[in-house]
Amino acid sequence: MSPTYVLALFGSGIAAGIVAALLGVGGGILMVPLMTMVFGVPVHTALGASLVAAMATSDAACIWPAKRRLMDISQAWTLGLTTTIGAAIGAMVALASKPEVIQAIFAVLLLYTAFQLARPQRQAAEVPDGKGAAGASRARHALMLLVGLFAGASSGLLGIGGGIIIVPALHLILRKPFKEATATSNLLVGITALTGAFAYWWRGALLLVPTVPIAAGAFVGALLGSAIDKRLSSQVLRWGMALLLTFTALQMGSAIVGAHLGR
């Protein structure tokens, strides 16, 4: 394991952490393809390392005062009840699945995320803000718990934090202001990723390299990203990310098809 390889992983973690903080996601959506396609890390190892990196991103958000004040801790804990169960189930399914199956699901997820990023964003004002948890009905809370279960399963299965599902759901279902939804999701990502990461660790899929360099990089990157003005998260950044994710999804898809035809 050369120092250059470790440094490159650390640098990639920083880049993914910055983007994760700017877009309000855990960063797994970038880290998994990066590790598997650029660094040649086996899929299950990459999924586990990405979950640990998502926790590092969450930790960084939790120590950043401005984000900390926006977090709805009770909401994160309540949702954690279902995301945790979902993550454990998702991780066990992933560990029992073929890597190509996971890559195919991941490619679809990348395309979905790219579409979400590219389409015009709904302004927070379109959804009544300020009502908070008190204004949300029991049915909305029940639906949110179900979404949490799905987000947790996606997290464990695909090595993502689940922010790409949780943030829009908090905003649209519970009518949380977008910034509060992002901050609450940041806290929830750490709780969700915990059981999934443990499952990978228990099965021996987590290795010191790439886990520690990518997680340390993600922590530093998330701190940097939190310090950068949120205005940098412009439509240009969203379009750039959408293009990058589409390209990665197509690369992943062609690699799966190539491997299948080569048999």
Partner: protein, 57 residues
């Protein structure tokens, strides 16, 4: 399973959200409902971990 120092280091990293949970619970120790919620979450995490170990001995 046998655990080397590297595996223990990764386990320590995995446990960090528990520290944040403990800190938040401590800060809300005067709110019984919040404490109960934190305990429920901790129980679910423990149950999920037990399930993982039980299904993958």
């Amino acid at each position: 399973m046998t655990m080397g120092p590297s595996q223990l280091a990764i386990l320590a990293l995995i446990a960090t959200p528990l520290l944040i949970l403990a800190r938040d619970a401590f800060n809300r120790r005067r709110e019984p409902r919040q404490l109960l919620l934190a305990l429920a979450l901790l129980s679910v995490i423990a149950a999920s971990i037990a399930l993982t170990i039980g299904l993958n001995p």
